[in-house]
């Protein structure tokens, strides 16, 4: 009787306590279809968001003979971020969740490794759909891996194409400079003032006594041309002042339409400041 009880207990201890090997860190090998390179010559992988923003520690293609292969060690904080760009600036920046949905994971626990396959090439190409405006806003050029770019409003015209840059009703927004950080939808933006001027008008609410304020930005609408700057707990009036329509964009110039505090519509051109972060 005692022996039998002992065997019973031992069985459960054996089953319950014997440990496998520990795989806290896995070797991830990503396999992308080779036709991706035909349209998207820039393909890099980052281990986390911070590296992606700064464009550092990028993992580049390891082998392109039979599909594109990327390999990296990933611990349990590993959140792969793809930076895939077409020549026109269209990118994967805002599409990370859609790309993750297309991944199929095959685990090899004995080797602590995992193969990640993106087998649906059409779906993959379709998922990469972030507007080139994102790259125009944040990078000096297509080949820049990461960082930020600061823009100032150089000229403003009214609806009759009359220049109103120095008019009092436009001077408050004219005094602002915008630093867009790489990131896509929900990327960070820092708003400051030109030449140390004090913020004025409705923008005082945003700065709240500070010399610069952080927020996030995104391109809304089906055509991704409505630039919205999002900050927590701000008034509807300020939200309206922080919404712009982008008429055209390039790495050297932005043409936007905007509204001032009096409800007047203006058309502004923005140019990059020389001192980049």
């Amino acid at each position: 009787m005692k022996n039998s009880i002992g065997i019973l207990i031992l069985l459960f201890l054996f089953c319950g306590c014997e440990k496998n090997q520990k795989c806290d860190t896995l070797r991830y090998t990503f396999h992308l279809p080779s036709q991706l390179l035909a349209d998207y010559p820039y393909v890099k992988l980052y281990q986390n968001q911070e590296d992606f923003y700064q464009g550092v520690n990028a993992i580049t293609v390891e082998d392109s003979t039979n599909g594109l292969t990327f390999s990296t060690m990933g611990n349990n904080q590993f959140t792969p971020i793809w930076d895939i760009r077409r020549a026109d600036g269209t990118s994967s920046w805002s599409d990370q969740q859609a790309l993750a949905q297309l991944a199929d994971h095959q685990v090899f626990f004995e080797e602590c490794s995992v193969d990640v396959h993106y087998t649906d090439a059409d779906a993959l190409l379709q998922a990469i759909s972030s507007s080139p405006i994102y790259t125009h806003l944040a990078l000096p050029g297509l080949d820049q891996d990461g960082g930020s770019k600061t823009w100032e409003i150089s000229r403003i015209f009214d609806e009759d194409s009359v220049e109103v840059t120095e008019r009092p009703e436009w001077i408050c927004i004219k005094s602002l400079v915008f630093t867009f950080y790489k990131g896509g939808k929900g990327g960070k933006i820092k708003i400051g003032t030109n030449n140390g001027q004090s913020p004025c008008g409705v923008y005082e609410e945003l700065f709240n006594g500070m010399s610069e304020a952080y927020a996030t930005y995104s391109l809304e609408g089906e055509d991704q041309r409505e630039l919205r700057i999002t900050a927590p707990a701000i008034s509807d009036a300020l939200k309206e002042q922080l919404t712009f329509h982008i008429a055209s964009s390039s790495y050297e110039q932005l043409a936007i339409s905007l509204t001032n505090a009096d409800g007047q519509i203006g058309y502004a051109t923005l140019t990059p400041l020389q001192d980049e972060e």
Binding site: I5, I7, L8, N20, D24, N76, A215, T230, P232
Partner: protein
């Protein structure tokens, strides 16, 4: 201990909301992302516990004895029965693919996180507060830090097999006409550093010899029995308040939270046993039938979540920055499966030992030790 602590932190992620209480009206703009968060949390918790939850009830309702049933009334036996699922753990079920969980843009996690039986750390889930109109992440205007919180995912246990071990005492009473009823009861409480755990299991079975109606032989070597059984169990875990579901950073805190976790199963089963007595000592049997399991994971108590008012004061007054949530977890698994297996019973005077294998959703092993008291003639 560490695992429980991790659980606690992750549970706080899950707790952000199921159902608002009275002050919800001014928070409607945030409701979608909070519901999404709860949806993610539930899908993760259900996936993490799936191998255990989907098999525990089945295994608990195994281990009922085969073999001969006393003919006369008044025979009493006492047994100790151990059962466990033995779930093969392989590359297909070691990790949870997080892209198969409920998706929301407010949560960022690693592509893989361990299941309950995988020996690996769980990693971190990042929760971001989003602007309701653009779904953009919100940042602190002062320094650009995302308004977010990190929560640890659950660590896997790391066992060779997936197991659901349980040992329970059983008492049997014969009613005459080769019919026996059996009762299993196990209540206990455990107090330890992380909190209090109450475990209870209750159930019973009735088995009846069918073959007596078809033969005049008094003690046939071959017999057929019908067994109907029911088992239920509950586990309640009440973690110590200051260690559980409590976190605080510059944006959020959860002071005042009080959550109790629970897991319940209900299982009904009908089996036919076909016994063959090899000798006075050894009896063999096979059995087959169907078993139904309902498994509920849930929680009682309230979770209180406070967002620093300066980040959401467009919709909140100061008194309203706290959200109180009930019914944080709920997930149910319900399944009916065929079951079958075989067993061997050894008799040594008043003592019996029995080993049984069953397949019901997965492999289940049982061992039973029985002592026959007031042994009327068999």
């Amino acid at each position: 201990m560490k695992n429980k602590s991790q659980s606690c932190f992750f549970l706080s992620l899950l707790s952000l909301l199921f159902f608002y209480k009275s002050n919800a009206q001014t928070l409607q703009d945030y409701e979608t992302q909070i519901r999404d968060l709860a949806g993610f949390g539930n899908s993760y918790f259900a996936a993490y516990t799936n191998l255990f939850s989907s098999n525990f009830g089945f295994s608990l309702n195994q281990g009922w004895p085969g073999g001969k049933i006393p003919e006369k009334a008044g025979h009493i036996s006492i047994s100790l029965v151990g059962t466990s699922s033995l779930i093969p753990i392989d590359n297909n079920n070691r990790f949870i693919e997080t892209n198969e969980l409920y998706q929301t843009s407010g949560i960022q996690v690693a592509p893989l996180t361990p299941g309950i039986f995988t020996d690996a750390e769980g990693g971190v889930a990042h929760f971001f507060l989003l602007d309701p109109s653009t779904n953009n992440r919100l940042v602190d205007p002062r320094d650009g830090a995302y308004i977010s919180a990190d929560f640890n995912m659950l660590k896997g246990l790391g066992t060779r097999f997936g197991v659901t071990p349980f040992i329970i005492p059983q008492i049997g009473l014969s009613l005459g006409r080769r019919t026996e009823v059996m009762l299993r009861v196990l209540p206990f409480n455990i107090n330890f550093d992380d909190g209090d755990m109450r475990v209870s299991a209750l159930g019973g079975a009735i088995r009846h010899d069918l073959s007596q109606w078809f033969t005049t032989e008094e003690d046939p070597a071959f017999s057929v029995q019908l067994l109907l059984s029911y088992m239920q169990n509950e586990v309640h875990f009440k973690p110590n308040g200051d260690q559980f579901l409590t976190f605080s950073n510059a944006f959020f805190n959860t002071a005042g939270t009080n959550i109790e976790l629970s897991h319940q199963t209900h299982t009904q089963q009908a089996l036919l046993f076909f016994n063959y007595r090899l000798s006075k000592i050894v009896e063999l049997y096979v059995h087959g039938g169907a078993v139904h399991q309902k498994s509920d994971l849930g929680s009682d108590g309230l979770f209180q979540f406070t967002i620093d008012n300066q980040y959401i004061n467009e919709v909140l007054t100061e008194e309203q920055s706290s959200l109180t949530v009930s019914d944080v977890f709920h997930s149910r698994l319900e399944k009916t499966v065929p079951t079958g297996g075989a067993g061997i019973q050894f008799s040594f005077g008043s003592f019996q030992a029995e080993a049984q294998y069953s397949y019901a959703n997965t492999h289940i092993g049982s061992l039973g030790l029985r002592v026959n008291l007031f042994k009327n003639e068999m």
